[in-house]
């Protein structure tokens, strides 16, 4: 099998490793799979140069499709590698297999390097086409938070240690552990046992546009990369404005994802210190609803507080009550009986986890006449310092948490986490929710993985975070309002790239070739010196080789070819690259012949 064909097979194989990652629900991914199958078949049966060339080009097309499907850092690196291999095989094909693999790869690498300014210009200046950038990025959705709260549903999650999100901060310092609450969704509807979202809660007309309020600041103070979930919401801190105006905040303070939830989503926030508008949104009627006749003890206690305290003091009363009762935090609370499950937890078993506490507290508040709701999200996250400064907060699915919010007329929505009263360690130490789970241990592999995820986060921040708005800002800074010049600027930039980089490449190539040639000659001369053949001062190669050939008639032919090859290569008008490369290799072959030749001429007598 010839070299370039092998290269193509390796490239195809590498691309195939990306297959499990792409989302088969996308029409485009089926196109990619078909193309890969086609290329494989083509490679098997290809005989002529043009067919092999076609399969190489097909490979490049597949890489392009893959790049649209899988933009992450890992897939990007694989795509880069396959591009390198496909280019090398093309080069090998065009140069007739004259080059060695190392030279081929080096040359392809230089080609890619030369394309880099072009890539940069295209990336920065070519106007984004919306649909391409918003095609689902082909990550299969994984289980995350559920959009309902039921007995055991979060306890199931805690065992899952898969990544949920990564957060980096412009200030480089993460918030303290007790402030690491990342909200995802709110639950209003309660049937006495189960909390659910209100139907039609995220209907479009009920949204606060993200850009409402303070004027848009351009600095990104917080950057998120959320893994795909099944939910149409994204985790966030509840503070600040999303930089992407397509992201909306519901009146409940839920960040709604405008894209299919199966893709990994990158988004940034600014104005973190500004007051959040959703906190002043008056409560819905549902925030006070309690099913009548269920959980009577809870209702009674609530009524008592309602009669005794002002609304603001009822929360403090609930805190006192929770602390006075023997509540215990556990992930194995066991099943709670019947329709009065919350009563059973609050007054009988008194063991549970965040879900139970949040549920009990919220129901109590409603009974006491304070509008309240459940918030589902993540709490905590590990700070991963990055090699080379900075770091990111690694939020895992095991950080899933449930807490409450109560509406106080003078303060708006106030966050209350009853779990923190009962088990403050769980919150402040950032302990995983499951007490039985062993703390994460240091392992080199795990450390490397965390570092890699950090690099991936930064890459995503640069590449995927470069939004249409950033681009518009850049163009405006470059051109002001004269958008009609954009095309011209683009053409000029491209022309500059082609006009500077290509001649530069040719120049360095020629110089390198010449130098390689000279190095090869010097090696030959060294070898000849070892045979006792040395040029006279000032002697030119032709006369030297002729003279040496007379001394060593057995080497005459080799020396003559050596001189001719070198001189032709060196002083001829510039030749196509493949010829130059071929002469270099011929020189190398001659040197090997010289190396193999005996130290002294074989005497004619034998």
């Amino acid at each position: 099998m010839s070299g370039h064909r092998r290269l193509q097979w390796v490239a195809l194989g590498l691309l195939a490793t990306l297959l499990p990652a792409i989302d088969t629900g996308m029409p485009l991914s089926w196109g990619a799979i078909c193309l890969m199958a086609l290329t494989g078949l083509k490679l098997r049966e290809a005989r002529s140069r043009s067919e092999l060339r076609r399969s190489s080009l097909l490979l490049l097309v597949i890489i392009g499709v893959m790049a649209a499907l899988l933009p992450g850092l890992g897939p990007s690196l694989i795509q880069l590698l396959t591009t390198l291999l496909a280019l090398s095989s093309l080069l090998a094909l065009e140069l007739g297999g004259a080059l060695q693999l190392r030279t081929l790869l080096g040359r392809s690498l230089r080609l890619l390097g030369a394309a880099l300014p072009l890539v940069l210009v295209l990336f920065l200046l070519v106007p984004r086409v919306g649909p391409i950038w918003t095609v689902p990025m082909g990550q299969t959705a994984r289980t995350g938070l559920s959009d309902r709260l039921d007995t055991g549903s979060i306890a199931n999650l805690v065992a899952v240690d898969t990544p949920a999100a990564r957060i980096s901060f412009a200030s480089e310092a993460p918030p303290p552990p007790e402030a690491r609450y990342w909200r995802v969704l709110t639950l209003h509807s309660f049937d006495g046992q189960r909390w659910e979202r209100l139907p039609g809660e995220d209907s479009l007309n009920a949204l606060i546009p993200a850009a409402a309020g303070a004027p848009m600041a351009s600095t990104r103070e917080q950057f998120w990369l959320a893994e795909p979930t099944l939910l149409p919401m994204l985790p966030w801190s509840g503070q600040g404005q999303p930089l992407d105006p397509e992201l909306r905040i519901s009146p409940d303070g839920v960040l709604l994802n405008n894209r299919p939830p199966i893709e990994r989503r990158a988004y940034g926030f600014t104005n973190l210190s500004a007051p959040a508008a959703w906190k002043r949104q008056p409560p819905r009627d549902a925030a006070l609803e309690l099913p009548a006749g269920i959980n009577p003890r809870l209702q009674a206690l609530g009524q008592e507080w309602k009669a005794t305290y002002a609304p603001a003091d009822r929360v403090a009363a609930a805190q006192r009550w929770f602390l006075s009762q023997p509540f215990r935090y556990t992930t194995q609370p066991g099943l709670l009986p019947g329709p009065d499950a919350v009563d059973a937890f609050l007054f009988d078993t008194r063991i549970g986890f965040c879900e139970h506490f949040a549920s009990g507290f919220t129901a109590l508040m409603r009974a006491a006449g304070v509008p309240a709701r459940i918030v589902l999200g993540y709490q905590g996250g590990d700070w991963v310092p990055q090699v080379g400064g900075g770091g990111y907060l690694d939020v895992r699915q095991s950080d899933a948490h449930a807490w409450s919010e109560v509406w106080l007329a003078d303060q708006g929505w106030v966050q209350v986490d009853p779990t923190a009263w009962v088990s403050p360690v769980r919150i402040s130490a950032g302990q995983p929710i499951s007490a039985g789970q062993a703390p994460r241990q240091f392992s080199p592999l795990g450390w490397a993985l965390l570092q890699w995820r950090g690099i991936d986060l930064r890459w995503t921040g640069w590449v995927m975070g470069f939004s249409r708005q950033d681009q518009r800002a850049l163009i405006e800074r470059l051109l002001g309002t004269r958008h009609e010049w954009l095309g011209l600027l683009l053409v000029a930039a491209l022309a500059l790239c082609l006009g500077v980089v290509l001649p530069l490449m040719r120049w360095t190539q020629r110089r390198r070739d010449a130098d390689a040639l000279r190095r090869e000659l010097d090696r030959c001369l060294q070898r000849l010196q070892g045979l006792g053949l040395e040029p006279l001062p000032g002697e030119d190669l032709g006369s030297f080789c002729h003279r040496a050939g007379q001394q060593r008639p057995d080497l005459d032919a080799v020396l003559d070819e050596l001189a001719r090859t070198y001189l032709r290569q060196r002083f001829e008008p510039p030749q196509p690259q493949d010829q130059r490369q071929a002469s270099s290799q011929r020189l190398r072959r001659l040197r090997h012949q010289l190396t193999r030749s005996p130290a002294a001429a074989p005497s004619p007598q034998g």
Binding site: L521, P535, G538, D540, L541, A563, R570, F571, E572
Partner: protein
């Protein structure tokens, strides 16, 4: 070395072969003379009388199909004897120009160092400018115009040495030297052809085309660097010779280009430079003092050049 020779419509190689039939055993000198002609330079031959200078000049002229004239320079030769004069025509009463022997395509100027400096100067000015002014009128010399001058050694009586500035006008200086015994035997046994027997192998137009081709020979930057290294070495005070001028460098390159054409290549290699360097540079370095004109002087003549060539790395 064998080179794959590109097919040429007109081959200077055939000229060299034919001239060699006339001037036996002097192929190297003939080749240099042809290179000099192809490089559009003039040739100075230093040698004793009877060594075949005239034969060479005449044979070259015939083979290239050029018009040939010969002037023997004497101490009383006047510039007008070379250039020609205005003659009063009795009919019209006006002067008409009678061109002198200078108006030929190949001029053999015999024993140029016997003429007075004034006459030498007139010849050399014509060589440099390609035209002659008589009575205030400028007359163009024919194209091609090729001067082969000969001179005797200074030890011979009644000679005026050419000044350095005028030596510089000659692209090459050659010595023919005595023929080898074998060649002389052939000469004595009448095997040599006479110049008149040579056919015209080329036309003047062919010569112009070849001259054109010679100037277009490819010279890589590394070769130019070699030429410059050579020239710069001659300019170092410690070297001892008269420094080579930029014109000398130009001449060296031009001659090397023509030589490479004769070798059948379309690019110049250091060997070409080395081949022409003694002829092109020796007379510019030895302070205009011609060395002995006997055959034994040939090795002496190469001395500066050899030192120069040995002083610069020829492996490029």
């Amino acid at each position: 070395m064998l080179w794959t020779v590109p097919v040429q419509s007109v081959s200077p190689q055939r000229v060299i072969e034919h001239v060699s039939k006339v001037l036996l055993g002097k192929e190297q000198q003939i080749r240099l003379a042809v290179a000099c002609l192809l490089a559009r330079g003039h040739l100075l031959i230093e040698d004793l009388p009877g060594m075949g200078k005239t034969t060479l000049a005449e044979a070259l002229a015939r083979c290239f199909g050029l018009e040939f004239k010969r002037v023997h320079f004497t101490s009383d030769l006047l510039p007008a004897d070379l250039t020609g004069i205005g003659v009063l025509e009795t009919g019209s009463g006006s002067f008409s120009f009678q061109p002198g022997p200078l108006f030929s395509q190949v001029l053999l100027a015999d024993e140029i160092n016997r003429a007075s400096p004034r006459t030498q100067s007139a010849l050399l000015e014509a060589m440099a400018s390609g035209r002659v002014s008589v009575d205030g009128t400028s007359h163009e010399l024919p194209i091609p115009f090729f001067v082969i001058a000969t001179q005797n050694g200074l030890d011979q009586t009644g000679t005026a040495p050419l000044p350095e500035s005028q030596l510089d006008r000659f692209l090459m200086r050659l010595t023919l030297g005595f023929p080898e015994r074998q060649a002389e035997l052939a000469l004595l046994s009448g095997q040599a052809m006479r110049p008149e027997q040579l056919p015209a192998l080329l036309t003047p137009a062919d010569l112009l085309a070849l001259q054109q081709q010679a100037t277009a020979q490819h010279a890589e930057p590394s070769l130019l660097a070699y030429v410059l290294d050579l020239v710069e070495l001659s300019r170092q005070g410690s070297f001892g010779a008269s420094p080579l001028s930029p014109r000398a460098a130009q001449s060296l390159l031009a001659a090397a280009r023509a030589w490479s054409l004769l070798e059948g290549r379309d690019f110049v290699i250091p060997a070409d430079v080395q081949a022409v360097l003694p002829s092109v540079c020796e007379h510019r370095m030895d302070d205009g003092e011609p060395v002995g004109t006997n055959g034994a002087g040939a090795s002496e003549a190469g001395s500066w050049s050899q030192r120069l060539l040995a002083g610069v790395d020829g492996l490029r």
